[in-house]
Symmetry: C2
Subunit: 316 residues, 2 copies
C-alpha cells in the first residue's frame, strides 16, 4: 500500500489541516519538524501576514511544509503572487474550482492537493490535474460539504474512483482512526481538531479549554443555507438556532453571522459571541500537547493497533 | 483482539441488521447459514407474523439467529411472549429504554444487545446489563440518533467507555469498512444496507434497483423533528422538503408522513409515495447478490486489505 510520504518527502503520512486562526508558522513548523506535513492556513491572513508566516516557517524548519489556500479568498491574486515569489513547494487548495489555478501551480513545480467533500468534486479535481486530494467527511470541523457524506463512506467511494493519492480527513485524531482511514483505502490522513488545540496553535486558551471540556454530541453542523459549518454549541450557536425557529431569511442569517465571528471565538477566546469551529472528534481531545507529542502518540497507537488487528482470526 | 464470534457462537463477526420490510426468516436464515448472525426484524411484524417467521427460521437454519425488537412497538408485550415461548436465544433491542426488558431477557438466558447512537445511551445500556451494544453512526440508513455522531467518531468514543463488546454499524458494507470498524475498536460489525437489497431480502425489486442506481450524496437525514430517518430522495422526500420550506407544523409533518410509508416504499416498491430508507453506503452497492456471496466477498476483501495494511511501513 502506498502512503503519501514520498509525495511530500515527509516521515509520516500525517498532514496538519490548514485552519483559520490556528495554523500559523508556529504550528506548521512544529508539525513538519515532528515528521508530518505542516500547513499554514492562509484563509485568515492578509497577504502581508501570509508572507511573514511563510518567511518565519522557513526559518523554523528545514522540513517540507505547505500553505492551505481557500480559492474564494478575496485577495487570492496577492496570495498567489506571494506563494510563487516565496517558492512554496506544496499547496492545498479548498473552497473553489481547482480548474482555476492548478495549471499555474504545476508550471511552477508546486505539488497541488485539493480538498473535497464529495465524489463529484474529487473527480473534478482529478481532472484538473491535482497531485492528490483531501477527502473530508461530515464529521470534520469548520466548513463542510452539502452532501454530508461521512469519512467512512467517502474514502472508499473516492479512492476507488480516482487513481491519485487520497488523504482522509474528518474524525481522525488518533492512531486507531488513522489505521481505520488507511483500511478504508486512504493513502494518508489530515488531522485538524487535535492540532487546533495543541500547544503551538495560535487559538485562544479559553477556546482550547472549551474544546477539552466538550462531550460526544456537542458539535453540530449548522448554517447550511449559507455554507455548512461545524461548531461547538455556545450562545452564538443558540442565537442561530433561535433565528431558525423564528424562520428568519437567509439575509438575516448573514447579518447574525456577520464578520469576524471565527476570529472572535477561536483567536480572541470570546466563548459567547464567537464561532467555535471544531470537529466531532473534539470530544476525544482532553489536554494540550505539543505537535510532536501528538504525532508520536498517534504513531505509537497506530503501530499497537496494527498488531492487534494482525492477530484477528475471523473464523471461529 | 476479541471479536463477537464466541458471544453468538458464529463463524464471522458480522451481524445482519434487523430492518423493517427486509429481514424476515429468509434473510435471517441465509445470513446465519453463511456464517454471520441473521436477525428477524420484528419492527414491521404483527405478533402472529413474528411467530411464523421465528418458526420458519428455525426450520431453515440450525445456526444461531436472533430477533431485533424495537422497544417502542405498540404490541411489545405480545412480541415478548412469543420470543420467550419460542425460546429465541439472541435479542437485539432498539428504540427504547434498555432498563425495561433486559432483566427479563437475562433471566431467560437470552443474550441481549442494545442499539445506540450516542455515548450517553451506550453507558445506559451497559448499566442496564446488556451483553453487547450496537453503536450506529449518522451514516446508517433508517432511524437514526439526534447527535449525528458518525461511525468514525462514535466507535472509539464508546469502546473506550464501556467494557462489553461493541458492534459497529453505519457505513459498513465491505471488507475495507469492516477492517476500519475493527481498527476503531469495534468487536464486530452490523451490516444493514447491503443485506437490505440482497437476494433473500423481502424488499421490492424496484426498491432494490433504486438503491443500486443511487450515487454518493443521494441519501439524506430528514424528519429530525419527529424521529430522524435517512432516506433516498424521491417524490415523497421532496414533499417533506417542501413542507419544511412552507414552514409547516410538526403535526402537519406527521400527517405527511402518515402510516405505512416505509412499507409502501420498501415492500411494495412505490418509489413515488414510499419512504425509501437506506444508508449512505447505498452508493457503493450496485448489484443483487445472495447473503452468502456478500459475506464471502466481505471476508475475502477484509483478509486482502489486512495484508495490505500489514505491509505499511509508516517511516519513510
Amino acid at each position: 500500500m502506498n502512503i503519501v510520504n514520498n509525495l511530500f518527502n515527509i516521515k509520516y503520512p500525517i498532514v496538519q489541516g490548514g485552519m483559520v486562526w490556528c495554523s500559523g508558522w508556529k504550528l506548521a513548523s512544529a508539525v513538519s519538524n515532528a515528521g508530518g506535513l505542516g500547513l499554514i492556513g492562509a484563509g485568515s491572513m492578509r497577504p502581508s501576514v501570509l508572507e511573514e508566516h511563510i518567511k518565519k516557517c522557513k526559518k523554523a524548519t528545514s522540513k517540507p511544509f505547505g500553505v492551505n489556500l481557500p480559492l474564494l479568498y478575496s485577495q487570492i491574486d496577492k496570495h498567489l503572487e506571494i506563494i510563487l515569489r516565496e517558492k512554496v513547494k506544496i499547496i492545498f487548495t479548498s473552497a473553489g474550482n481547482p480548474m482555476l489555478y492548478t495549471n499555474i501551480f504545476k508550471k511552477n513545480n508546486i505539488t497541488v492537493v485539493h480538498v473535497v467533500s464529495s465524489k463529484k468534486f474529487a473527480v473534478k479535481a482529478f481532472e484538473a490535474g491535482v497531485d492528490a486530494i483531501v477527502a473530508e467527511g461530515f464529521e470534520a470541523g469548520g466548513h463542510n460539504g452539502v452532501n454530508e457524506t461521512t469519512t467512512m463512506c467517502l474514502i472508499p467511494e473516492i479512492s476507488e474512483s480516482i487513481n491519485i493519492p487520497v488523504i482522509a480527513a474528518g474524525g481522525i485524531a488518533s492512531g486507531k482512526s488513522m489505521l481505520a482511514a488507511l483500511s478504508l483505502g486512504a493513502n494518508g490522513v489530515q488531522i485538524g481538531s487535535r492540532f487546533a488545540v495543541c500547544k503551538e496553535s495560535s487559538s485562544h486558551k479559553l477556546y482550547k479549554n472549551y474544546v477539552f471540556d466538550s462531550k460526544e454530541g456537542d458539535t453540530q453542523l449548522t448554517l447550511k443555507e449559507l455554507t455548512p459549518v461545524r461548531l461547538l454549541r455556545n450562545e452564538f450557536f443558540y442565537k442561530i438556532q433561535k433565528a431558525y425557529q423564528d424562520k428568519v431569511s437567509v439575509n438575516d442569517l448573514k447579518e447574525i453571522l456577520a464578520k469576524g465571528r471565527a476570529k472572535k471565538g477561536i483567536f480572541e477566546g470570546d466563548l459567547i459571541n464567537g464561532e467555535l469551529e471544531i470537529g466531532q472528534v473534539s470530544s476525544m481531545i482532553s489536554k494540550e500537547q505539543t505537535a510532536k507529542q501528538i504525532i508520536d502518540e498517534i504513531i505509537n497507537e497506530f503501530n499497537k493497533q496494527k498488531l492487534l488487528i494482525k492477530s484477528i482470526k475471523l473464523n471461529k
